[in-house]
Amino acid sequence: MSSVSPVSTAAPSVIKVQKTEQAFLSLKGLHKSFGPYEVLHDVSLEMHKGEVLAIIGPSGSGKSTLLRCINQLSPPTAGSVSMDGVTIEAGCSSSRNDLVKLRRRIGMVFQSFNLFPHLTVLQNVSLAQVRTMGRSKRDADKKSLELLDRVGLANKAELYPARCSGGQQQRIAIARALALEPELMLFDEPTSALDPELGLEVLAVMKELANEGMSMIMVTHEMHFAETVSDRVVVMAEGRILEQGISREVMRNPQHERVVQFLRAVRDR
C-alpha cells in the first residue's frame, strides 16, 4: 500500500490501531485542479476510527484543499474518498444521497469561524439540528446548551457572535459542528486567526475531544500541539504528502530533507 510511509513501518508498536483493521477513512489517488493548475497531485491517505491526524506544511501546499476535498466542499478532480462504506468517486455523478450522507457525518471548523452573525449563539448551534436532523426546536436547544456548556459558553447562548471574543467564537463553531454528531471532525487552522491566549482555549477543547476518541484531522501550525495531541503527523508540500508517521518520530527525526527545512523554519519563527 502506497499510503503507508516508511517512518510508520519503522516505528515501534505504539500505534493505536492495528493496520489490518479496515480503514475508517480512505483517500485514494486524489487530484484537484483549479482551471489549469493542479494543486493536489495523487494524494492517498488512510485513517482509523478514533485517530487524530495533524497535517502540517508550508502555506500554499494544499492542506486546506485536501480537507475540502474530504468533505466534498470542493470536489476532487480525480480519485476517491471512502468513509465507512460510503465511497465518492470523483467525476462519477455520485448520487446526491451519498454526498449528503458523507457530508452529514463530517464536521468542519474554519480558520475564520464563519458563525452566522444575524443569529444568536444558540440559534447558530440549533439551526441545522432542526433543519437537517428533524429535531424539535426544544430538543435542539437542549442539546445546544449542553454543547455550549461543554465548551464553557452556556452563558453566551443569547448573545450574538459579534459580542464574543475570537476564541469564544471558535468554540461556538466547534459546538455547532458537534451538534450534528459527526464521526469525523476537520479543523482548518482553527487557531491561526486568534491571539495565542485565545488559541489556547480552543486547543483545550480540541484536546478534550481527541481524548474522548473523536476522529480528527487538523491542519495546524501549532507544532507542539500537533506533536502532543495527534497520533500521526502528515507533512505536505507542493500538493503532495512528503512524509507521515507517528507524531513524535516525524517531528523529532524527519527523514525528508524538505521536511527538515520546514520544521527548522517553523521553530526559528
Binding site: N71, L73, V100, R103, R104, I106, G107, M108, F110, S112, N114, L115, F116, P117, H118, L119, L127, A128, R131, T132, A162, R176, A177, L180
Partner: protein
C-alpha cells in the same frame, strides 16, 4: 403673505387627502415590489441558464422602460387586451414592477456581498440550497441592502406623482386640479412641494445616518 396662508389653509384638506393616497400607492408598490425584487434577484442568479435569461429579460424590461410608460401601459394599454384596472390598481402594479426591477439589482448586490464563508458554513452543516438561502444568505443580504432599499423607497414616493397622468387623485393631481380651477398654479404647487419635502428630507437624513451606522458596524 396672509393671503397666501389663507389660500393654503383652504387647499390643505384636499391636498392632504391626495398626500395620503400618494403614501398608500407607494406603500402598496413597495410591499409588492421589494419581494418581487428578491424573486428577480434570485432568478437572475439562478444556476439554470434558461431561467436566468428569462429573468434577465424581465428585469431589463422593467429597468429600461420609463415608469411613465409602464403606468400608461397598465392603465390605458392593458384594457385593449381585455384587462381593466382601477387607476389605483394599475398604479400599484406598474410601480411594483418598476420597483421589483430596480430593487432586484440592489438585492443582488446584497446577495453577492454576503461572505463566501457563510455559504460554506451552511453547506458543511448540511443545509440544503433553499434552507441556506432562507436562513443564512437572504437575511444577511437584505440587511446589507436596507439603506439602498430605503433610499429607493424615497425616490418611489416622489415618482408616485407620475400617477396624475392616469387620473389617480393623488397629491399632484389634486394640486394641478386646484391650479386649473383657480389659476393659482404657483402657490398650490409650492404647497404640494413642501408636503413632499416634509417626508423626503427627514427620511433622507435618517437613511444616510443608518447607512453610516451599518457601514461602521460591518467593519468591526
Amino acid at each position: 403673505m396672509n393671503e397666501l396662508l389663507g389660500l393654503w389653509w383652504e387647499w390643505f384638506p384636499d391636498l392632504l387627502q391626495g398626500f395620503f393616497l400618494s403614501l398608500q400607492v407607494t406603500g402598496v408598490c413597495l410591499l409588492l415590489g421589494i419581494p418581487l425584487g428578491l424573486v428577480f434577484a434570485l432568478g437572475v442568479s439562478a444556476p439554470n441558464k434558461a431561467v436566468r435569461l428569462i429573468f434577465l429579460f424581465v428585469v431589463e424590461l422593467g429597468r429600461g422602460a420609463p415608469a411613465l410608460i409602464l403606468l400608461q401601459y397598465f392603465y390605458y394599454g392593458l384594457p385593449s387586451a381585455g384587462i381593466t384596472f382601477s387607476s389605483f390598481t394599475a398604479a400599484a402594479l406598474a410601480l411594483a414592477y418598476c420597483t421589483g426591477a430596480y430593487t432586484s439589482e440592489i438585492i443582488r448586490g446584497g446577495l453577492e456581498a454576503v461572505a463566501s464563508g457563510q455559504r460554506e458554513a451552511a453547506d458543511v452543516i448540511g443545509l440544503n440550497k433553499l434552507d441556506a438561502l432562507r436562513f443564512i444568505i437572504v437575511p444577511q443580504a437584505l440587511r446589507i441592502a436596507i439603506p439602498s432599499l430605503l433610499g429607493f423607497s424615497i425616490i418611489m414616493f416622489q415618482a408616485s406623482s407620475l400617477c396624475f397622468t392616469i387620473a389617480l387623485p393623488e397629491l399632484v393631481s389634486r394640486a394641478s386640479a386646484i391650479g386649473s380651477n383657480t389659476f393659482q398654479y404657483m402657490p398650490v404647487l409650492a404647497l404640494a412641494g413642501i408636503m413632499y419635502a416634509v417626508v423626503c428630507i427627514p427620511a433622507t437624513i435618517i437613511v444616510t445616518s443608518l447607512e453610516k451606522k451599518l457601514g461602521a458596524s460591518s467593519q468591526t
